[in-house]
């Protein structure tokens, strides 16, 4: 189990690097698909089986497909050959390393000692009860947000007729 986790973690870091560094956007999207699938795997290892399946269903089966769509529809052949990283990369790198280091340091301060991992339990039922019980209000709010997103997406992607 542990070994699998470290392999997954290494692959996750690699594919995350792929997302931000690969030249071809399509390739980085594929790298992102891989990263998301790996995150789903980590979820399952952490006992969140329902969440892992949802991650694949929503992220990979939904969001990434649309992402690939847009990439396919909006590629100018010339742009794929240009530099993909802007001029502020050095500063950005310093900043993100600082943030990463800070996060690691902070985590180390509070969570470095060993927590016992409890056994894995199926979670679908309890998540269902949680969402429709105590979390009902955020749940409804999210459905409203989704509706708004739906309407907004239709509005934005419409061809403008009046022009």
């Amino acid at each position: 189990m542990s070994l699998i986790f470290y392999v997954f973690g290494a692959l996750l870091v690699l594919s995350a690097l792929g997302v931000v560094l690969l030249k071809n956007v399509f390739h980085s999207a594929i790298a992102l698909v891989m990263a998301l699938a790996l995150v789903a795997g980590i979820f399952v290892m952490l006992g969140a089986d329902f969440l892992g399946a949802s991650q694949i269903l929503v992220y990979v089966g939904g969001i990434m497909i649309i992402m690939l769509f847009v990439i396919m529809l909006s590629q100018q052949p010339v742009e794929a050959l240009q530099r993909q990283v802007n001029e502020q990369w050095l500063l950005a790198m310093i900043l993100s390393i600082a943030i990463g280091a800070g996060l690691a340091e902070g985590f180390k301060k509070y969570f470095a000692y060993h927590f016992k991992s409890p056994g894995l339990m199926p979670t679908s039922v309890s998540i269902g009860r949680l969402l429709l019980g105590e979390m009902i209000v955020p749940f409804e709010a999210v459905s409203l947000a989704l509706l708004a997103a739906l309407v907004g997406a239709v509005l934005f992607s419409q061809e403008q007729k009046d022009k």
Partner: protein
Amino acid sequence: MFFKEDIVPQGADRWIHWLAPVAACAPAFICFAPVPFGRDIVPVDLDTGVLFILAISGLSVIGILMGGWGSGNKYSMLGGVRAAAQLVSYEIPRVLSVVPILMLYGTQNLRLITMAQQARWFNFFPKWFVFYPVIGQISFLIFLICSVAETNRTPFDIPEAESELVAGFHTEFSGLKFAFFFLAEYAYVFLASAMAAALFFGGGDGLWVRGGIIPSWLWFLAKTSVLVFVFLWFRWTYPRLRVDRLMQFCWKFLLPWSFINIALTGAWVLVH
């Protein structure tokens, strides 16, 4: 097919072109993990079985998009986009058509779902989900139609219509790679039939033949084969749909009806 030359087009994105058939094919086989082939013959007894299958089978779309992109060919790409659009759209009513089953039996575990269907109505009539009045039939029809569309088969095969589009996204694939795409397609036909058998037809539950003379796995395979036959039957019978009709049918007919069906099931569950 194994020995045919593997041709990679000049403008192709080599890596993607190479990965596409794998990405299309692999999920199809992973999906068989939680399928209960018989009474106690379940490769992996997953608690989130149904969701797992639905999620993983969605991964194949990535393979198709990769195929369309990797060929470095505008027409392949359009074919890929079309196919993906169709698959993503039909995925939604398909998932929703399974929801009533989950509501009724209160589990996503395929084995438990088949177990729950082994009861009899009036000690006689099999209590399979498909025989539940109204909800069972609506669910099954939507599931069947969406599964046909999901596997890109006639009458929903406009994205890869051989005679009209020169095979869409897999135009540029030959030899073993092409074989992999087809393998994926037929694996999905088999998977959809197996799922339908497990979800709607009681899995390995036998019909009035007591004492286990016929083993449950044989029942399961028989049901699956009949459903596979239905799939082929569709192909022989119906002409193709136009692409805009196809999308309209999904969004304006299947989707509302699957919502209505969920509401009906809710009422049914409340009453019982």
